[in-house]
């Protein structure tokens, strides 16, 4: 049992605040992904959980034990680093055995656990090699095997796939998901790749400028972004935003269309919709087609709506021409509204 609780953790580097009072609870065996652009504080948060960085304030609890004053070795964690950190002077076998030897396990146990994890990561045939004789993908496997062999309560991963080429990344992603689910450890996984986050996570914590903006399941984060940033960061192409003006009590005028929306005192709010949640029809948002990109399964159409860019994903047999006027009808249940001042969802 190793649930993790991050309570009011803040980190300042000199005058720069990397983390503002972050709170996050991670359930036992949960796969939590910290997602954000570079410099958003996700790696700093991971390193604070690992004990490689001390928080300026706040508490870190792992398995009901407060650990923020403990060194990394006493926290029951294992970590996989972005550059793998495979010890170059040791064989693959000794790398995986390193932590077990530190625990002073008997030789027979060490061999059993090394062989088992090596088999799990498909590197049995590499055990006698040195890191210099391995490819990037193989090193990555060694790093994961080394962490798994520790049988930790918590595995921390810092962008473990970002140094691999695209094809290998796809393969390792699926494999990691299977292996980690089977290992029944709690996982915190840091990435800037939204596809990786969506495909791996039980829950995604989206981070922006040192804060967690939203922590929810991948579908929830995608469908119901809690803030404008989440909608614009997740999804490729991202969510479309159009200014909306008040047309009555609970109805808003958006690009020539009047839609039912939230009740608000404000005169101007923002209308938002995902590119795939519009249909070309006889009624809808007034749009002028600018660019057409056929992508195979569907066609990406970039239009002008209210003087701003609007991307729509239409069926590939939709016959549109550049310069044409379109009516894009938003699916009513997929429309979201944001407060332009706080940027939070309404």
């Amino acid at each position: 049992m190793a649930e993790i609780a991050i309570k009011g953790v803040a980190k300042r580097f000199g005058g720069f605040t990397a983390l503002h009072q972050v709170n996050l609870a991670i359930a036992d065996q949960e796969f939590m992904v910290l997602l954000g652009a570079s410099g958003c504080g996700k790696t700093t948060l991971l390193r604070i959980v690992a004990g490689l960085e001390t928080p300026s304030q706040g508490e870190v609890w792992i398995g009901g034990r407060r650990v923020d004053h403990l060194p990394p070795r006493e926290r029951g964690i294992a970590m996989v680093f972005q550059n793998y950190a495979v010890f170059p002077h040791l064989t693959v076998f000794e790398n995986i055995a390193f932590g077990l030897r530190m625990k002073k396990l008997p030789q027979a146990d060490v061999e059993r656990r090394v062989n088992r994890t090596a088999e799990l990561m498909h590197i049995e045939q590499l055990l006698k090699r040195y890191s210099g004789q391995l490819s990037g993908g193989q090193r990555q496997r060694v790093a994961v095997a080394r962490a798994l062999a520790m049988e930790p309560d918590v595995i921390l991963m810092d962008e473990p796939l970002s140094n691999l080429d695209a094809l290998l990344r796809l393969e390792m992603r699926a494999e990691l998901k299977g292996v980690l689910a089977a290992s029944k450890t709690t996982t915190i996984y840091v990435t800037h790749d939204q596809v990786e986050a969506m495909s791996l996570a039980d829950r995604i914590a989206v981070m922006h400028q040192g804060r967690i903006v939203q922590a929810a399941s991948p579908v929830e984060v995608y469908r119901n972004p809690a803030a404008r940033f989440v909608g614009s960061f997740i999804g490729n192409p991202p969510m479309n935003f159009i200014p909306a003006t008040k047309a009555g009590n609970g109805s808003w005028s958006v690009a020539g269309l009047t839609l039912p929306g939230p009740k608000s005192d404000k005169q101007k709010i923002e209308f938002a919709i995902r590119p795939e949640d519009v249909d070309a029809g006889s009624e809808g948002l007034h749009a002028t087609v600018r660019v057409i990109e056929p992508l195979g399964p569907h066609t990406l159409v970039t239009c002008d709506v209210e003087g701003g860019l609007f991307r729509a994903i239409l069926e590939s047999n939709a016959s549109v021409k550049v310069g044409e006027q379109l009516r894009l009808a938003p699916k009513p249940d997929r429309v979201r509204w944001f407060d332009p001042e706080t940027t939070n969802a309404l």
Binding site: L52, P72, R73, M79, F81, A85, H89, F98, G99
Partner: protein, 281 residues
């Protein structure tokens, strides 16, 4: 039009040619500057005493060990040689003992005054030893350190320490900090991580730095001459007996000093270049 475009091309080709010649000439000059004395030293050291004083000189050494054996058996040489090795070894131990931790700290920790500290480390080399020698000698006599191996080793350590710090600094900087962090997460204390991960990786470079410290002490003559009387090192001994000793003894002694130093420096040259790379940054 074509004449206009050709002329600068031709001129630049000429300039390049001239530059090439200048480079070659400089290389030859520097090569001769360094290699000629060593060549003369080796030729004469490997000749018999009669050949050394004879004229014209031989181009190739006779491989006669007469001079060298005379030098080895010369009264006091064995003792001076032993002193040199002792002082150099002590210098080596002291400079690595102090220099490696300093290099580690510089590469791994951010602390106020780090830049100043690095600068000061180099600054210690800016004080000419003759300036310090007299007060140092007085201080050594007061504390009883004069004419001892450890006393001289302390002075030599001061000379070697900046290099030890800079070489080990570049060495530790070249080892990714993640390796250490990985060791911590795998159950190591800071000390264990250093011993099990960093040290094995840094050892060749540390050895090189140690050899360099040894060589600095081995070659040093001024402090050795001022601070020792009975327990002369080889350099100080040769300096003292230079006036009255025959020519072939000087050549043999010179070779005995230069050859080990050359071999040592050649062995560790890779790490010295790394140090300059860092120091120039």
């Amino acid at each position: 039009m074509s004449a206009v475009t050709q002329t600068p091309a031709a001129a630049s080709a000429d300039a390049r040619k001239a530059g090439d010649w200048l480079l070659i000439a400089t290389v030859i000059l520097l090569g001769v500057w360094v290699l000629l004395p060593i060549y003369l030293l080796i030729v004469n050291a490997l000749s018999s005493p009669e050949q050394v004083t004879a004229f014209p000189k031989r181009f190739f050494p006779a491989f006669d060990t007469g001079s060298l054996s005379f030098f080895i058996n010369f009264a006091g040489v064995a003792r001076a040689l032993w002193n040199s090795v002792l002082v150099a070894t002590l210098t080596m131990i002291l400079s690595i003992g102090f220099g490696a931790p300093a290099g580690y700290a510089l590469s791994r920790f951010d602390f106020p005054g780090k830049g100043t500290f690095r600068f000061l480390v180099l600054m210690t080399r800016a004080f000419p030893l003759p300036l310090l020698a007299l007060p140092l000698a007085v201080m050594f006599i007061r504390t009883g350190l004069d004419d001892t191996a450890i006393g001289l080793a302390l002075v030599h350590t001061t000379l070697a320490l900046p290099f030890a710090v800079l070489i080990t600094f570049s060495l530790f900087s070249g080892i990714p900090v993640e390796l250490e962090e990985a060791a911590w997460t795998l159950g190591c204390t800071r000390l264990q991580a250093f011993r099990k991960v960093i040290l094995p990786l840094a050892l060749p470079g540390i050895a090189a730095s140690a050899v360099f410290a040894f060589t600095i002490s081995w070659n040093e003559v001024f402090a050795a001459a001022v601070l020792t009387i009975e327990n002369r090192t080889l350099t100080a001994f040769l300096l003292q007996s230079l006036g009255e000793s025959p020519l072939y003894l000087k050549f043999a002694g010179g070779a005995a000093l230069v050859v080990p130093a050359l071999i040592f420096i050649f062995a560790v040259r890779k790490y010295l270049f790394a140090m300059w790379g860092i120091a120039n940054r």
